[in-house]
Structures are given as C-alpha cells and as structure tokens.
Symmetry: C2
Subunit: 256 residues, 2 copies
C-alpha cells in the first residue's frame, strides 16, 4: 500500500487507540517501539506486527513515524532515532513542532483532543485533531492521514496547541478528579458512585446548550456562607477544605 506504512514510537493509551483506528481505515502499522517490553509486545501482538525496545532497530522504510510517548522522553528518543525519510509526527499537546528540526526533513504534529483509556472504545469521527507541519507537502500528508480518522481536523500553531492542552487538563483531568472526590464523599454515606451519574450526565449535557457561565448553579454562585462553611467543616482533610474554598471563591468572583 502506497504511503500508508507507519512505525509507532510508543505503546501507551494514545498509541494504542491511534493504532487501532489507523488500521481500521487502511494504514499498516509495520513496527511498534516501546522502552517497555510489556507495552511493546502487548500492542504489537494485538496488531500482529514486530516490536522492538531498541531504537536502533527501528525500520527506515516507514512512510510515517508517529511518536506517542510522554513529553519528558520525547527529546531524547528523537535524538536517538536512526535516520529515515518518512514523516515524523508527534501527538503531544504541549511540545513544539520544532523539536524535530534538524533531525529530519519532513515533520509535524497530530494532536487528538481526547482522553484515552485502553479499555474504552473511542468514536474517532468527532474528535478534534489539531495538526501542524514543516512544509506544504507534509501538511497535505498529515492532513490526509488525520482526515481519514476524523472529520474535525484543523491547523493549529504550537503556541495555540499549548493552550488547548492546558484547557483539556481542566475540562478532563480536573473534572475527573472532582468525580473522584465526590466518589469518596458519597462513600462516607455508604452510597454508591452510581447515584451521582444522572447529575454528572446533566452537568455535561448542559454545556452543549448553555455556556458554562450560564450553566453554573450551587452555593458558590452567591457565596452562600451558611452552606459553604458547613461543607468545609464536613470535609476530612485540609487539602479538600482548601480545594473547596478556592473553587467556591473562584466561582463567586466569576458571578459578581
């Protein structure tokens, strides 16, 4: 298949989901690299391809090299990659495209704005994918690759991508942590997390039709001192008390 072979550098959540979907739409993963044998072999076995834990053994024949590894390892892995003529792409929200500069001719970024857990099935079609490329021809190639897995592909600079990644930490990671704290609290009343699901669902669905500002409810909007101080008393740890206080003040400031 022409221009459709991919070497996958990384075997974590993003790499796994990308590999599945790229395979679904006709790309061929030819090799998987991971520092960890367990991760590399797990993904490679699923894809029925070779894997390596040695960067020197990475093929020089792939059309694309997709780097889905943690930010802190990216620079070192890139600098130890053998030479090749394919397009090098990373999937990181916060790393600049130019991390590839001087190391390879054609490169870019493909950042899917989604949270990936291995056990989940992901509907790729609606995931916003932000791309960037070293030059026009490379842009066309990355745009085509991304366009095969999502209908929401757009060009975004490294600077703006950083903001998107930062926003995702709030909209996803911090939101999930709020769920986690809520789970701990209902546990104290011997209730299951399930009782919170209709509330969680409605909170999410509201912002499809209302701005988050207009969707806000609860004691912090008008800073209902009475409820707020009782809630802070109920919380077990100084850390949770501080989180409650800080977020309540922040909501209130937003609604004055």
């Amino acid at each position: 298949m022409k221009n459709k072979t991919i070497a996958l550098i990384g075997a974590g959540n993003v790499a796994t989901h990308l590999a599945r979907q790229l395979t679904n739409v006709g790309y061929t993963i030819v090799q998987v690299y991971s520092r960890s044998v367990a991760s590399a072999s797990e993904l490679a076995n699923r894809l029925k391809v070779n894997y390596t834990t040695n960067l020197e053994e990475i093929t020089d024949k792939a059309n694309f090299y997709i780097f889905s590894i943690k930010d802190s390892a990216l620079e070192e892995v890139i600098s130890n990659m053998p030479h090749s003529n394919g397009i090098w792409i990373h999937t990181s929200g916060s790393m600049p495209m130019n991390i590839f500069k001087g190391k390879v001719q054609n490169y870019g970024v493909l950042y899917p704005l989604q949270t990936f857990s291995k056990t989940r099935v992901i509907e790729w079609k609606n995931i916003p994918i932000f791309i960037e490329a070293s030059d026009d021809a490379t842009y066309q190639s990355i745009n085509q690759l991304a366009g095969n897995i999502s209908s929401r592909v757009s060009l975004l600079s490294s600077e703006d991508r950083k903001q998107v990644h930062l926003s995702a930490v709030f909209a996803c990671n911090f939101v999930n942590h709020m769920y986690n704290i809520a789970n701990t609290i209902v546990g104290k009343a011997n209730l299951s997390f399930d009782i919170l699901l209709p509330l969680i669902k409605e909170t999410c669905e509201k912002v499809y039709t209302l701005s988050p500002h207009n969707a806000q409810t609860g004691p912090a909007v008008r800073y209902d001192e009475n409820v707020i101080s009782k809630h802070i008393d109920l919380l077990d740890t100084p850390e949770l008390k501080k989180i409650y206080q800080l977020l309540s003040e922040s909501i209130h400031k937003n609604h004055q």
Copy 2:
C-alpha cells in the same frame, strides 16, 4: 383530587422543575409563594394558579407544602408560615429535617440529586430522590409523591444527605467551573468551547464503566513536572495557578 394539592413555597429552579413534573403526573399546584413578585408571577402564570408574596396569604388547605427556597431563608420563612394541617417538605440538601419540628405535625424532606436550570428539560425518571419523614404515615405520603416522579427514591438521614449534597458540589458545581475555566483558556487560542465537547462527553461517559480513580489521565497522575510547570506559567492569574497546582498535587497524591 384527593391528597394531591400542593402549595409551592419558592419559585426558583428547583421549584419550577418540580412544579412542572408534579403537574405532569397529576398533582395540582394550588398556589405559588415567592418573596419576589417577578419569580412568583412567572411560575404562577405558567401553572395558571394564584401567587402571593405575602406568607400570611398562604392557603391552609393544601395537602403538601413544598419549600424550595435558599437554605439561608428557610428557617425564617418556616417560622412565619400560617398554621396548616398539610405535610411540610423541604428540598434542601444541607438543611436538617428537624427545622420543621414544633411548627407542624407532619413533615419531611424530598431532595432530588440533580442540577436544575430553568431552560433545560429534565428527565425525572432516573433522578435519585432522597426522602425523610417525621413519622410512618408521612413517609408513605412523601414516598408516594416522590415515587410518582422518579423510580429511584430512597430513605436517607439528614446527616447522610449533607454528604450527598457536598459530593454534588464537587460532581456538578466544581466540574462546571472547570468547564468554565477551560472555556476561557481555549478563547485565548481563538477557539470555540465546542472543540472541548467530545472530550467533556468522554470524560463523563468513562465513569459509567471505570471508577474515577481508574479513569484518571493527564500530567498530574505521575506529576510530570515538565508539563505542569509550563502549564502554570501559561495561566494568567495567581488564582488559576493556585487551582492548577492544588488539583495536580491532589491527583498525584491519589495515584501514589
């Protein structure tokens, strides 16, 4: 209609949604009270019933008196209510049932665990409703009323209800505030909040099948210093930097 008349004390979001649904299932709202003429008349006109802004004018003939007003006003409103023989019920998460004690014979609590905005249509059937009552007969009446609007009614003590309400502040109000902050951040990259919706939806749907602890992703899990310090630098205000830091530390502690 026997045992099916309700006087509604309050005309805010909860009162409005309750009134709609109770009417749908065959109860009759006979009167609406609110301190504010605008709120009282708006809801009363929609229900085609009388309203009053004067507590002394509240009917003594209703079967139920449902108090959906803010916690800080509840005690005073109750103490100024005229005598009646109906069942008095409040809908607050944090106020004890005994706030009615000595004022009326039969009383209780009906706390729907949901976020209510006037413009939203709510699917009541799945909303957990936590009830409590002064005595068995009253419990039967409140249980029947609640059971007509939801299939998830359960008895819960005032103490445990406080915990549920507290958990809801995290699972809803604080979650929505995270959406709000994310909205501000994507705005800086001239992007619309819409790009975050698939991420927000998946974050919510994940916790239907994974515990929030197992669903957690992002730089805070392993405390990726590199990403975290860049993100804190990107944030505009000391307040947002502090929120980011505190929540990241809290996530990390949870995953050690």
